[in-house]
C-alpha cells in the first residue's frame, strides 16, 4: 500500500567504516523486492535502516512519499520478521500477535478479530493459546509472520526468515510466503536472503548488493532487475557469478571478430566461440572474460569448440551430471559443465564444450559489453 524510495542512502559506522554507499532504489507498491549479496555486503543493515533499527548516515528514505529518516520505527508503517523469529517467549501465540495492537490501545474486539483473521490465514488457529516453546520452528516463523500481518503494515520487512528452518520446511514456508503475497497484492515486501533460490522464486525484482571493500569503495548496488534479467543479462562478472548455481564459468579470452556478433578466442581451453553480444571495431584484440553458465555448456565432438579439457571429477545427480575439468592453475576455479541426463566413464577423458551464441557473455574489466 506504499512505495519505498531510497535516495543516495549510505551507512557509515563510527564516522569511518563505510558499509553502504549511494543506494538509489525505488520500490513500487505491491512489489516483493529481494536483497541478496555475499555476507558482509550490508543487506541486513539496509533492511534495518528501512525498519528504523539502524540510523541512516546519509541520504533520504521515503515511505509513502514521506521522509521517515527521523521517524521512530513504530510510526513508519512497517513490520519486520526476524531470522530468529524473535517471539516473546513469555506470551502465548495470541498475546504475541496482539502485542502491538494492545500497545496501540486498539479496542479488544478489533484486536481479537485481527488476530483470528491472521491466525486463520496462517493456519495457526489451534495454536493460539500455546507458548512459543511448544511450537515447531516452522510454526514459530508463521507466528512471527502473523505478528506482522495483524498490524496490516504498509511495508513488510523479512530478514532471512527461512534461514533457521530445515530444508523441507524452508521450501514449504517459502511457498506460504509466496501465497501470502498473492493474497495481499497491495502490500510491499522487502526480503533479505543469501539463498538465491529464495531470491529467484519469490522476487518481483532482485537487488544484488556487493561488499564495498571488495569493489574498491565504488557502489553498493551491483544490479537491480527481475530474476530472469539478472540471470540472462548480468551487468558484471560479480552478478554473473553470484546468480546461478554452480557459478558461471569465466574463461580468459580475446576478441578476434567484431560486429553484430562477437567472435572470441579463448586462451584457456584453446577454442573459439561466437557470442550474440555486439561489439565495435575498437574492441578488436581486447582482453575479455568469456562467461558460459555450466547449464549452457554443450558437449561437442567437432572442431568448432570453445573449451577443451580433461575431466577430473564427475558428480551424478540423476537428472543432470556435473563435470569438473582440471584447472589450468591451482588458483583458478575449475570449469564446470552441467549436462542433462546420466554420463558415465568420463573421468580422465578429454572433452570439448561449446555453447549457443545467445548464451555466451562477454566481460571486459569485469563489466558486461552489454552495459557499457
Amino acid at each position: 500500500m506504499a512505495n519505498v524510495k531510497l535516495t543516495d542512502v549510505s551507512k557509515i559506522y563510527g564516522g569511518q567504516v563505510e558499509v553502504l554507499k549511494d543506494i538509489d532504489l525505488d520500490i513500487e507498491t505491491g512489489e516483493l523486492v529481494v536483497f541478496v549479496g555475499p555476507s558482509g555486503c550490508g543487506k541486513s543493515t539496509l533492511l534495518r535502516m528501512i525498519a528504523g533499527l539502524e540510523k541512516i548516515s546519509g541520504g533520504t528514505l521515503e515511505i509513502d512519499g514521506q521522509v521517515v529518516n527521523d521517524i521512530p520505527p513504530s510510526q513508519r508503517g512497517i513490520a519486520m520478521v526476524f531470522q530468529s523469529y524473535a517471539l516473546y517467549p513469555h506470551m502465548t501465540v495470541r498475546e504475541n500477535m496482539a502485542f502491538a495492537l494492545n500497545i496501540a490501545k486498539m479496542p479488544k474486539a478489533e484486536i481479537d478479530a485481527a488476530v483470528d483473521a491472521a491466525a486463520a490465514k496462517l493456519q495457526l488457529t489451534e495454536y493460539l493459546d500455546r507458548l512459543p516453546k511448544a511450537l515447531s520452528g516452522g510454526q514459530r516463523q508463521r507466528v512471527a509472520i502473523g505478528r506482522a500481518v495483524v498490524r496490516s503494515p504498509k511495508v513488510y520487512l523479512f530478514d532471512e526468515p527461512l534461514s533457521n528452518l530445515d530444508a523441507a520446511l524452508r521450501v514449504a514456508t517459502r511457498i506460504e510466503i509466496a501465497q501470502l503475497k498473492e493474497q495481499m497484492p497491495d502490500s510491499t515486501m522487502i526480503y533479505v536472503t543469501h539463498d538465491q533460490v529464495e531470491a529467484m522464486t519469490l522476487a518481483s525484482r532482485i537487488v544484488v548488493l556487493d561488499a564495498l571493500k571488495d569493489n574498491g569503495h565504488k557502489y553498493s548496488i551491483a544490479q537491480v532487475g527481475s530474476p530472469l534479467e539478472l540471470y540472462e543479462t548480468p551487468n558484471s562478472e560479480f552478478v554473473a557469478k553470484f546468480i546461478g548455481s554452480p557459478s558461471m564459468n569465466l574463461l580468459a579470452g580475446e576478441i578476434v571478430g567484431t560486429g553484430e556478433t562477437t567472435t572470441l578466442k579463448l586462451k584457456e581451453g584453446g577454442g573459439t566461440i561466437t557470442s550474440a553480444v555486439p561489439s565495435t571495431p575498437e574492441d578488436m584484440g581486447a582482453e575479455v572474460n568469456v562467461g558460459i553458465r555450466p547449464e549452457d555448456a554443450q558437449e561437442t565432438t567437432g572442431d568448432d569448440y570453445a573449451y577443451e579439457g580433461t575431466v577430473e571429477v564427475r558428480e551424478s545427480l540423476g537428472e543432470v551430471t556435473l563435470i569438473y575439468f582440471e584447472r589450468s592453475a591451482p588458483e583458478h576455479d575449475p570449469v564446470i559443465a552441467k549436462l542433462p541426463g546420466i554420463h558415465t566413464g568420463l573421468r580422465g577423458k578429454t572433452m570439448r564444450l561449446t555453447a549457443k551464441p545467445e548464451k555466451v557473455h562477454v566481460f571486459r574489466n569485469g563489466v558486461s559489453l552489454l552495459y557499457r
Partner: protein, 333 residues
C-alpha cells in the same frame, strides 16, 4: 611454635589427608575388595563403580551429619528441656509458650517480617534498576564496581561504617556523622537517628540493602544480557515505549532469575544478626529473631528458650530454602 607454622602444618595435613583418603580408599576398593581381574572381573567393576560414589561422599556426609544434622536434633532436644539442678529436665513446650509470651519475642517476629518485606524487595528493585541503567553507559562498569563493592565488606564492617553515618554528637559540637552533618548544614537539629522508632528499623535495613543490591545487580545484569536482542527490537517495532519494553518484555523473561535473587536475599534476611548486634543490639525496638536467640543463649544462658528461638528461625528458613533450590534448578534446565 609460630602460629603461622602451625597453620601451614594444619593445611598440609588437611589437604594431604583428603588426597590420601581418596587415593587409599580407591586403591583398596579396586585392588582388594573388587579387583578388575579374575573370573568375576565384569561383575567386580560394576560393584566397585556402585560403591565408589559413596566412598568419596562419605567424608562430606559425615561432616554434614556431625555439624548440621546433629546440631538440629540437639537444638530441638534442648528446646524441650530446662536446665535444673543436677541436669536437664523435660518441660515439653513450656519454653515455646514462655517465648511467645515475651513482648521482645513478638517485637522480633514483627521486625523480622518487616525486614522480609522491605529488604528483598528493595535490593532486587535497586539491583534491577542498577543492572539496566549501567548496561548502556560508558562508565557503567565503574558504577557497577562501586555498587558491588559493599558485597566485599563484612556485615559488622558495614555496620560500623553506617553507625558512623548515623552518628550523633551533642548540639553545637561538630557532627562527625554524615547524616547529621548534612542536617545541621541545612540548619536542622542533629538527631539520634538509631533511637527514632520505628524508622530506626529502616535505617538498619538500609545497611543490608546497601550490601545486597550489588549481588542482585550482578545476577540480574547477567540475566538481562541473556535476553535475545531481537525480542527487544521486535518490541520497538511493535511500538512499545522503553518503559513497556522493560516491564512487558525484559522483566517477564528474567522472572525466574528475579525469584531466585529474591529468595536468596530472603534467606540472608531471616538470618540477619550482625547488623542489629553491632548497631543497636536490639534496643529501641529493633530486635530481630537471630539477635533474640543470641541474647537468650549467650547473655541470659537460657538454653531452652534460645534453642526454641533457633527452631523458629529454622522453620521459617527451610521452606524458602527448598523453594529457592527448586527454582534455581528449574532455571538451570
Amino acid at each position: 611454635m609460630n602460629p603461622a607454622v602451625l597453620g601451614l602444618i594444619t593445611i598440609i595435613l588437611g589437604v594431604g589427608g583428603c588426597v590420601g583418603y581418596f587415593w587409599a580408599s580407591n586403591f583398596v576398593l579396586d585392588r582388594f575388595l573388587f579387583p578388575a581381574s579374575g573370573p568375576n572381573a565384569g561383575r567386580n567393576i560394576n560393584r566397585a563403580n556402585a560403591i565408589r560414589p559413596w566412598l568419596f561422599l562419605a567424608p562430606a556426609l559425615l561432616a554434614l551429619g556431625l555439624y548440621l544434622a546433629y546440631p538440629v536434633v540437639a537444638t530441638f532436644w534442648l528446646s524441650l528441656h530446662d536446665r535444673a539442678a543436677g541436669g536437664n529436665v523435660f518441660v515439653g513446650l513450656d519454653n515455646y509458650s514462655q517465648m511467645l509470651g515475651e513482648a521482645k519475642f513478638r517485637e522480633a517476629i514483627f521486625n523480622n517480617m518487616m525486614w522480609l518485606i522491605v529488604v528483598p524487595a528493595a535490593s532486587t528493585a535497586f539491583g534491577l534498576l542498577a543492572a539496566q541503567l549501567t548496561d548502556r553507559i560508558g562508565w557503567g562498569s565503574l558504577a557497577k564496581s562501586l555498587i558491588f563493592m559493599p558485597m566485599a565488606i563484612s556485615f559488622v564492617g558495614a555496620s560500623v561504617i553506617w553507625k558512623l553515618i548515623y552518628d550523633a554528637r551533642p548540639e553545637g559540637t561538630d557532627q562527625i556523622g554524615v547524616l547529621n552533618a548534612v542536617v545541621t548544614f541545612f540548619g536542622g537539629e542533629p538527631q539520634q537517628w538509631l533511637t527514632i522508632q520505628p524508622w530506626n528499623n529502616l535505617m538498619l535495613m538500609i545497611v543490608l540493602i546497601w550490601i545486597q543490591t550489588g549481588f542482585a545487580m550482578v545476577i540480574l545484569g547477567a540475566a538481562l544480557r541473556g535476553i535475545p536482542e531481537e525480542t527487544v527490537e521486535a518490541a520497538i517495532l511493535d511500538g512499545a515505549s522503553p518503559w513497556q519494553i522493560f516491564f512487558k518484555i525484559k522483566v517477564p523473561q528474567i522472572m525466574p532469575t528475579i525469584v531466585v535473587v529474591w529468595t536468596t536475599i530472603t534467606l540472608v534476611v531471616l538470618k540477619v544478626f550482625d547488623i542489629v548486634l553491632a548497631m543497636t543490639n536490639g534496643q529501641w525496638e529493633t530486635q530481630v529473631l537471630a539477635n533474640y536467640m543470641y541474647d537468650k543463649l549467650f547473655r541470659s544462658f537460657d538454653w531452652g528458650v534460645g534453642s526454641a528461638a533457633a527452631m523458629i528461625i529454622m522453620l521459617l528458613v527451610s521452606p524458602i530454602l527448598v523453594w529457592n533450590v527448586y527454582n534455581a534448578r528449574k532455571e538451570m534446565r
